[in-house]
Symmetry: C2
Subunit: 155 residues, 2 copies
DNA sequence: TTTCTTGCAAAGGTTTTGCAGACCC
DNA sequence: GGGTCTGCAAAACCTTTGCAAGAAA
């Protein structure tokens, strides 16, 4: 999905919800799509402020659900306190996250079989699956050779 | 794994780390193994206090990592603000969580096929998988028939 | 004018931590 | 004594929310 397509989807979503396309929302959108890495709300705030310094933290947090709601952004929760976001890839595809145990770097990998996992598991319980996520903790290459990741953040 | 086995593992872990087996730690252990449901830190505190009312919240939070570290407790993060815990089942087995979208009830189910996924990841990314979890959001039976779960907690 | 937006600051909820006293070896 | 452990309260952390001012329709 191109940035322009995403912007259209975002604006259409806002319109449909009776919401307005403001400069702040656009700045946040542009900041989010300025690069392809995972980012946190705080990082998004910093980048959005570089575009429009009137953007506040509150507005970032209020805009994030609008972007995930319009399916242009995907939320990734690796259970580390803060949530990560990234531009949603082309529709439909199931994605799994692989997180390095040391540096918390997030790799993403296509996992088309995940859908089958979810149905199998849900069927056993008589539940109807809505969504699913597969997360793998792993040791990245740097960690295995050096015993520690170069871009490690933790203590 | 029986409660007694778990207690032995826990005490062995403490000894090995040069830590002490205190009344508070044992009360927290007993509270955790008193039942098989998922529980939160706060619920654990309440139950531990019923056993030994000198147990503080701080000690509960300090003891939880000791119990997960000794592999007698498993941490389950469904991305809902608070973490859940439950006694670890018999080793090795891969487990998936199915969470009801409405009441947040957590079902657990054995998912042996997940193991296969680990090798896939290794091959594609050159990473060494450590653990993996599959979480499925689903609608439980009560929700589908009533449009709302009886034990729902959210607003 | 009516509705939607915003920034600020305060509040929210869970988890962590500094500290002084208590405890065990 | 030297190390560990504890409760308390405060702090840290990310996120949400109340509010009054502001902007758009």
């Amino acid at each position: 999905m191109s940035v322009d397509t995403a912007r259209e989807k975002f604006q259409a979503y806002l319109a449909q919800q009776g919401l307005r396309v403001t400069n702040q929302r656009l700045a946040i959108f542009d900041a989010a799509f300025a690069q392809k890495e995972h980012f946190t709300a705080e990082q998004l705030l910093t980048r959005a402020r570089a575009i429009d310094d009137s953007v506040s933290r509150a507005t970032v947090y209020r805009t994030l659900p609008l972007m995930t709601g319009s399916n242009i952004l995907r939320e990734v929760d690796i259970g580390s306190g803060e949530k990560f976001y990234m531009p949603a890839g082309t529709g439909g595809t199931q994605v799994a996250q692989v997180v390095c145990v040391d540096c918390d770097k997030i790799f993403e990998i296509s996992a088309p079989f995940m859908e089958w996992y979810g149905s199998t598991v849900s069927l056993k319980l008589g539940l109807k699956p809505v969504s699913q996520r597969l997360q793998v903790s792993a040791q990245c290459i740097a960690f295995r050779s050096a015993g520690r990741c170069p871009n490690r953040l933790k203590k």
